[in-house]
């Protein structure tokens, strides 16, 4: 019992108090470190790519570097009829929605403005992300160099491909990593983004087919066949029709405008 009392006493002795101070300091330091880490991550990926060296696979590195931009671009393109900066558009609320089929006359079927819609969208996204790809590649090289790799690369073409349920970004950059005796070669670095733009573009093409043939589209059919799809057809007073295709699973949209078989006001 006494021993126990002594031990209790010791626990409260000045020596022990010093130890407690150390513990407190360590805890504070730990909190600071955790805070710094959180801070770094809060500025992710900018700070991360700048400060954190990685031994990630180049594909994973590029994915983490590009994914956010690719998503943003895909969304912007989708909301603007397949164009990042549409020239020929209908201002619907805050969105500039590109005319994919248009006639400026009344009682006439529209003319397709983007007959190769999928390819056009791919090109738009590619142009939009080109600079970011260059920057990410530079960061990638820097990152591997800082880890002792010898990095060899040559500038390659960026390609964007809309595929079922995904968007694939590929860079044919010819990246060669060498560390010691081991050499790894990456002819192609790819980033895949889960996205249904391909499917929505397919529906849009089908609607445009009706617009050019009949001047109108019965959208219920689409919704009956594709239960997760919502097709909104918003007629505007000048004869323009805004189509909004929404994937109900993830609320991703594709919007475009068409003006076909417009009736003269009053007729």
């Amino acid at each position: 019992m006494n021993k126990t009392k002594n031990q209790r006493f010791l626990a409260c002795s000045p020596k022990m108090l010093n130890k407690r101070g150390q513990v407190t300091i360590f805890i504070i330091l730990a909190i600071v470190v955790v805070g710094l880490v959180l801070l770094v991550y809060s500025f992710y990926p900018q700070i991360k790519s700048a400060f954190v060296t990685t031994s990630k696979n180049p594909n994973a590195f590029m994915e983490s570097c590009l994914k956010s931009d690719l998503e943003t671009l895909a969304e912007k393109v989708s909301l603007q009829g397949g164009s990042l900066d549409p020239e020929f558009y209908y201002q619907y609320k805050l969105d500039k929605i590109k005319y994919l089929c248009y006639t400026n006359e009344y009682y006439k079927l529209c003319t397709i403005q983007e007959p190769m819609l999928k390819e056009t969208i791919e090109l738009e996204i590619k142009n939009g992300i080109n600079n970011k790809v260059t920057q990410c590649l530079a960061d990638l090289e820097k990152s591997y160099s800082s880890q002792g790799y010898q990095v060899g690369s040559k500038k390659g073409e960026v390609s964007i491909e809309l595929l079922p349920k995904r968007i694939v970004l590929s860079v044919n950059n010819g990246l060669v990593l060498k560390k010691g005796e081991v050499t790894e070669t990456y002819d192609k670095i790819g980033v895949a983004l889960n996205d249904n733009l391909y499917e929505l573009v397919g529906i849009a093409n089908s609607i445009l087919d009706f617009e050019t043939t009949y001047g109108d589209t019965e959208t219920t059919t689409y919704m009956n066949f594709y239960h997760d799809l919502k097709v909104e057809k918003l007629k505007q007073s000048d004869g323009t029709t805004i189509y909004i295709l929404t994937d109900l699973n993830n609320e991703k949209k594709f919007q475009f405008a068409s003006r076909s078989m417009a009736w003269r006001p009053g007729y």
Partner: protein
């Protein structure tokens, strides 16, 4: 110099004419502006200018506007003719994705890597693409691409090429158990054959994985669940595989579902009773979105299977609408904000009932929720149409609804056509509005819309449009009372001074659009849309009735959907020619029988005298002298006496107070008395007996004169004419109330149109953002402050505003010393307010003698014979503001005719604006009835203006705009500026030719076939010299020339000031001449496709380029051509050319007749027809013969084709297979190999082929 107009009654005429002039100009201005109501995107007619094509969007624009419209100002414009290649439309084929886009410009397609071609490309033929267990119509390449990108095996079936067949193919995809792996890795999955084969599994068709024979160990019916892509509730086995539809939880039901471990088709499973709210949902999982509006979903406390351990159930997707009526999933119906169909108005005649601010909506039941599927366009420019189909199960009906353009304007346009009634009845959106004011002859039938449109009053064009539509409802009706000799006061057209007139006119007015007095969609009245003078205002009872139109209609009130045939008839049959309608049979008030009698009494007088003459008899027995003395003199006397009496009655104005009988009696008495008096004075054969009656004749005459004097003294024949005028203007929202926050409260979206209908102080703000709100922005509490709007004055206006005070300003001519305006000066009175408001103006009432203003307004009435009314019937003047003074109007009161303040809307509109502009063309003093010869004559005109703000606050004192008029000098004769037909050509078979000349000033013109003096020219023109009738070419004069010769030369001379005598006007001393010549006949020289030709295509629709050439006519072979589709011709649209071409790309197979009509500028018409045949080859080539030829196996096909062969199977890929053809041929060969089996597939020119083999050849069988 200042005039006292009271003492110069002739000036009243001048004032009246002045107002006619200014109003005409105002309306001309409005009409001129209305010409500009053309969408900026509309392409004007090709003869209006050079057409350019914008290469950015391949749209055509006028060259003047192309650069600004094309590519947002940065595009490339080139002449339309040069854009043919780049912007030629065809089908663009994406060879990678296998996607085809019709109507694609060549340039855009090719630049993006597509393959472009005219018509339907062969690559674009679709077939059924089977992808896993799904099917879809796709092109062959697209089907392959799916397999390539998704990894799911696909199969293309070209022979299945309709949506239904392809979908059915998916349903018939064989399902069964798929066994993969062996031993412990042996796994059973349930799916389609194709999916199984892709996994290299063993497919057991029709077996469930739980089938005992398969020995999979999968426990049967372990649970239930929903299955992706299926609607039903399915049993799931212990391995997680789908089994059959759930049919209940007891043993028998489970066994029935399990079906001994075999697949049980859905059609053989239970039937879910969808309509009775899923009455058997506990025991049936056969949900079906389309058939019963049900689908598989999570259970709830109320919705569950009998087996309560299961988590899913068939859930209904149906809804209950606003009338608590059941709607199926996907069903759409119309919902209206207020009444929609016409209803009985005054005297039971129908009127349209649409309320301002209301919109039509298409509602939809989607997945169990009622939602707005579509807002039909604002201002009811679209209406919601619905079709109802009886349900086969007898439970009511299923609706389908859509928004469709409102054809309201078309209804109004019918009134200009000959067969207006017929056209109106043909168009289901129109009806004949009956006007029939009791106790009057104001009757008409006018075609109006059933669903009148609202107006966008936020734009100038919208306001002009609203004004033009509503002004159709401005109607005047003349009425009068006459004091009679024996019957007191007699009313003519009495009904027009009663409230019935106002009510019927408002019924008509509100049937035109958002016009007149009406209620907004929440039931608040707006009353400034009508003004009535000399008739009572609308009654409270009437206003209560129309207030009901804001109530929601019941479920039986809806607009029936037009079928396609009706739309076609309406749009193309009814839209072609203008005609006329209207049955106004209202006579002039002054043309009642009594007055007419005096206008045309001579035949009656002669008849009366003849009767007297004959009554004496003995004509045959007398000699000539006897006849003269006995009969001729009395006859002359009777004639003279009757004439004097009739003249006296007319001159003293008592004639109109006498009935016809009374007039006959008095005139007959006068005739006899005069005859007796004559006999007594002159004597004759009969004088011995009749001359003695001379004193009686004198006495009789004296009595008649005395009676006439008494009647004159007592006022018999006194007539007071008035014109009741109903002015129909755009509807105005209620003033000074704050109901703005009610916008959107009814569950429908709040929009600009709805918001602004709720009150004149409501404003829709933040439009297009998430912060849209109908805001209350109240006006000030004081009247608006009026100031001159100097902005309307430009450097070359020729006038300025001076002497501005708080009470007015003066418009001063800067081109004259005294600042006065000669006649026909165009000036603009512009005023600005410090807040939004509407203004009225009038002339100085004090300047008129009593009653003159009313008379002025009567005469200011402009004939609206466009609508078939007679001239006296309708006025288009805008007398307003008198209804208050007529509130207490008592029928029959003599005060009914009292002159009231007559006002006009400033600028011709009742819109609440900051700036108001009233164009004025000053009248000449001569036209005002003043002397033009006195160079010192001046006349000050004052316009009195009053305004009120949106809160209804009016300025209490008049604001005066003054201008000074001076004589107009004119010393030169008129000038003929132009003539028509301009090219001097007439139709080849013309019998008569309309000609027109245009003069620079109002003029009277004549023409002759030789040059001669104006006074002796034989033929006159009818000239339109009224104010407002001036065209851009000048004042138009029309006449007709008989074309009895091939050539004629016309000489024209004119004189100005047609209102003056010929001697007081300036006359042309030289003729304006032009020639007329009959043109040659217009001929169609060729039509391609030529008669009897056969054109072959691989797909429907086939694209055929039609080419037409013309010769002759008035334009050297140039003409416009059109082709017949149904009952109407469609313009080829390439303008006046000698050769026209048009791609017709919607031909189906069969015999076709192409009817072409061409017309030149003078109306020569040529028609032509070409009959040809369209053949569609959709059959795969067949092998008709097989034989050995030397060392080769040869086959012959029944049509040109390319054949491929494979040694192993029919299902080979032709793109990598070997060919046995050299190009397209009917003969095909391959090296003879007796041990081989040839699997051969042939494709024809149109890519027709069979997914199976065309033929399988075993050489040994041939030998």
């Amino acid at each position: 110099m200042k005039f006292n107009l009271k003492n110069k009654p002739y000036i009243k005429v001048a004032i009246q004419i002045f107002l006619v002039v200014t109003m005409s100009i105002a309306f001309s201005y409005i009409i001129d502006e209305s010409d500009n109501i053309v969408s900026a995107q509309e392409v004007p007619a090709s003869d209006s200018g050079i057409i350019n094509t914008c290469l950015n969007d391949c749209q055509e624009y006028l060259s003047s506007s192309c650069s600004s419209s094309c590519g947002n100002g940065n595009g490339i414009c080139i002449p339309a003719s040069r854009a043919n290649t780049a912007c030629k439309l065809g089908t663009c084929y994406d060879s990678v994705e296998g996607i085809c886009m019709p109507n694609s410009p060549n340039k855009t397609c090719v630049e993006n890597g597509g393959i472009w071609g005219i018509g339907n490309l062969l690559e674009c033929r679709v077939g059924c693409c089977v992808i896993g267990d799904e099917t879809e119509l796709r092109t062959e390449q697209s089907c392959n691409r799916i397999e390539e990108t998704s990894g799911i095996p696909s199969e293309f079936k070209p022979e299945v090429n309709t949506e239904t067949e392809c979908r059915n193919l998916a349903r018939t995809q064989v399902e069964g158990a798929c066994i993969t792996g062996t031993g412990e890795d042996r796994v059973c999955t349930f799916g389609t054959r194709s999916a199984c084969l892709s996994e290299d599994g063993d497919f057991e068709e029709g077996f469930l994985c739980s089938h005992p024979d398969l020995e999979t160990g999968c426990e049967k019916q372990a649970s239930t669940n929903c299955v992706n892509g299926k609607d039903g509730v399915y049993w799931i086995d212990g391995c997680g595989n789908k089994e059959n539809i759930y049919e209940g939880s007891n043993l028998a039901q489970k066994e029935s579902s399990w079906n001994t471990g075999l697949v049980k088709p859905r059609s053989e499973s239970c039937n879910i009773n969808g309509f009775s709210l899923l009455g058997n949902q506990g025991t049936c999982g056969n949900c079906d979105r389309l058939a019963s509006s049900t689908t598989c979903g999570g259970k709830t406390a109320e919705e569950k299977l009998d087996d309560s351990s299961q988590d899913v159930v068939c859930k209904t997707l149906s809804c209950f609408d606003e009338n608590n009526q059941r709607r199926e999933n996907g069903e759409r119906w119309c919902n209206y904000q207020g009444s929609v169909l016409p209803a009985a108005g005054d005297r039971g005649f129908n009127r349209s009932t649409a309320t301002p601010g209301s919109t039509h909506y298409v509602m939809e039941c989607r997945e169990g929720e009622v939602q707005i599927y579509r807002n039909c366009a604002d201002m009811r420019t679209e209406i919601c149409e619905e079709v109802r189909v009886e349900r086969t199960d007898g439970n009511g009906y299923i609706s389908y609804a859509k928004c469709t353009p409102n054809l309201a304007d078309l209804c109004l346009s019918y009134n200009d056509k000959e067969d207006a009634a017929g056209l109106c009845e043909t168009n289901p959106q129109c009806y004949m509005k009956q006007l029939n004011v009791k106790d009057s002859k104001l009757r008409a039938n006018i075609c109006v819309p059933k669903y009148p449109k609202g107006f966008d009053l936020s734009t100038e064009n919208g306001q002009t449009y609203a004004q033009s539509v509503c002004s159709v409802g401005t109607i005047s009706c003349k009425y009068a009372w006459v004091k009679t000799a024996f019957h007191g006061k007699k009313w003519i057209n009495k009904g027009c001074k009663k409230v019935g007139f106002t009510q019927q006119m408002n019924d008509f007015c509100m049937s035109l659009g958002d016009c007149g007095a009406s209620v907004n969609y929440i039931g608040d009245l707006g009353l400034d849309g009508y003004k009535v003078t000399r008739a009572p205002a609308l009654s409270a009872g009437y206003l209560d009735e129309i207030s009901n139109y804001s109530n929601s209609p019941d479920s039986e009130e809806y607009i029936q959907m037009m079928d396609g045939e009706t739309i076609r008839n309406v749009l193309y049959e009814g839209g072609a020619e203008l005609s006329n309608v209207g049955t106004g049979d209202f006579p002039d008030v002054g043309s009642d029988k009594t007055e007419n009698f005096y206008e045309n009494s001579w035949p009656y007088v002669v008849q009366g005298v003849t009767a007297v003459y004959l009554s004496w008899g003995g004509l045959a027995s007398m000699g000539i002298l006897g006849m003269i003395t006995t009969y001729f003199y009395p006859i002359i006397g009777a004639f003279v006496g009757t004439t004097i009496t009739a003249w006296l009655f007319k001159y003293w104005g008592i004639a109109t107070g006498l009935t016809a009988t009374e007039s006959y009696v008095l005139l007959g008495a006068a005739a006899i008395a005069s005859a007796l008096v004559t006999l007594s004075i002159i004597g004759g054969a009969a004088s011995t007996t009749l001359a003695a009656l001379g004193p009686i004749g004198w006495i009789t005459l004296a009595v008649i004169v005395a009676i006439a004097l008494i009647m004159r003294w007592t006022g018999v024949g006194k007539m007071e004419k008035h014109t009741a005028t109903f002015t129909c203007s755009p509807w105005t929202p209620p003033e000074g109330i704050n109901n703005c926050d009610k916008c959107g409260e009814d569950g429908f979206p709040c929009n600009n149109y709805a918001c602004e209908s709720l009150g004149s102080d409501c404003e829709f703000v933040n439009e297009g953002t998430s912060q849209e709100i109908c805001d209350y922005i109240p006006s000030t509490l004081t009247p608006p402050i009026i100031k001159p709007n100097y902005n309307v004055i430009t450097a070359d206006s020729g006038f300025i505003y001076e002497n501005e005070t708080s009470n007015g300003f003066k418009i001063v001519n800067t081109e004259t010393d005294d600042g006065c305006f000669p006649g026909y000066s165009s000036i603009i009175a512009g005023i600005s307010l410090n807040e939004r408001g509407r203004c009225t103006w009038t002339v100085d009432q004090a300047a008129f003698a009593e009653g003159d203003v009313a008379e002025f307004l009567d005469e200011a009435a402009v004939n609206l014979d466009d609508f078939g009314f007679e001239e006296e019937f309708i006025g288009e003047s805008i007398p307003v503001g008198a209804e208050e003074s007529l509130q207490d109007y008592e029928e029959g009161s003599e005060n009914e005719g009292t002159t009231t303040v007559e006002e006009f809307y400033f600028g011709g509109s009742n819109f609440d604006l900051y700036n108001h502009t009233q164009p004025i063309q000053t009248p000449s003093l001569a036209r005002l009835g003043l002397s033009e010869f006195d160079p010192n004559m001046r006349l000050d005109f004052d316009m009195k203006v009053r305004c009120k703000d949106t809160g209804g606050h009016k300025n209490p004192t008049d604001y005066t705009i003054r201008m000074c008029l001076s004589p107009q000098e004119r010393i030169v004769p008129p000038y003929v500026k132009n003539h028509e037909p301009a090219n001097g050509k007439t139709k080849q078979d013309a019998i008569e030719q309309n000609i027109s000349v245009y003069t620079d000033v109002p003029a009277e013109c004549k023409w002759s076939l030789s040059d001669k003096e104006y006074s002796i020219m034989e033929n006159s023109f009818a000239c339109k010299n009224e104010d407002g009738q001036q065209t851009t070419k000048g004042f138009k004069c029309d006449s007709k020339v008989p074309m009895n010769e091939n050539n004629k030369t016309i000489s024209v001379r004119c004189r100005d000031q047609p209102w003056n005598a010929e001697t007081s006007s300036n006359i042309m001393d030289e003729s304006y001449t032009f020639s007329l010549e009959k043109s040659s006949a217009l001929e169609i020289t060729s039509i391609v496709p030529i008669e009897g030709s056969e054109l072959s295509f691989g797909t429907e629709p086939a694209a055929v380029t039609v080419s037409v050439s013309t010769n002759g006519g008035a334009d050297n072979g140039k003409s416009t051509c059109s082709y017949l589709v149904g009952n109407f011709y469609i313009d080829i649209g390439d303008g006046m050319k000698k050769t026209h071409s048009q791609l017709l790309d919607q031909y189906t197979q069969g015999e076709k007749t192409l009817v072409i009509k061409c017309e030149d500028s003078v109306g020569n018409i040529a028609t032509g027809t070409s009959n040809f045949n369209i053949a569609i080859d959709t059959e795969a080539p067949r092998v008709s013969r097989v034989f050995k030829s030397g060392s080769q196996l040869k086959i012959i096909t029944n049509e040109k084709a390319v054949c491929y062969y494979d040694y192993k199977k029919c299902d080979f890929d032709t793109s990598s297979a070997k060919t046995m053809s050299i190009g397209l041929s009917t003969e095909h060969a391959v090296n003879w190999n007796p041990g081989a089996i040839y699997y051969i597939k042939c494709k024809d020119t149109w890519n027709n082929w069979d997914s199976k083999c065309s033929i399988i050849i075993k050489p040994e069988e041939i030998i």
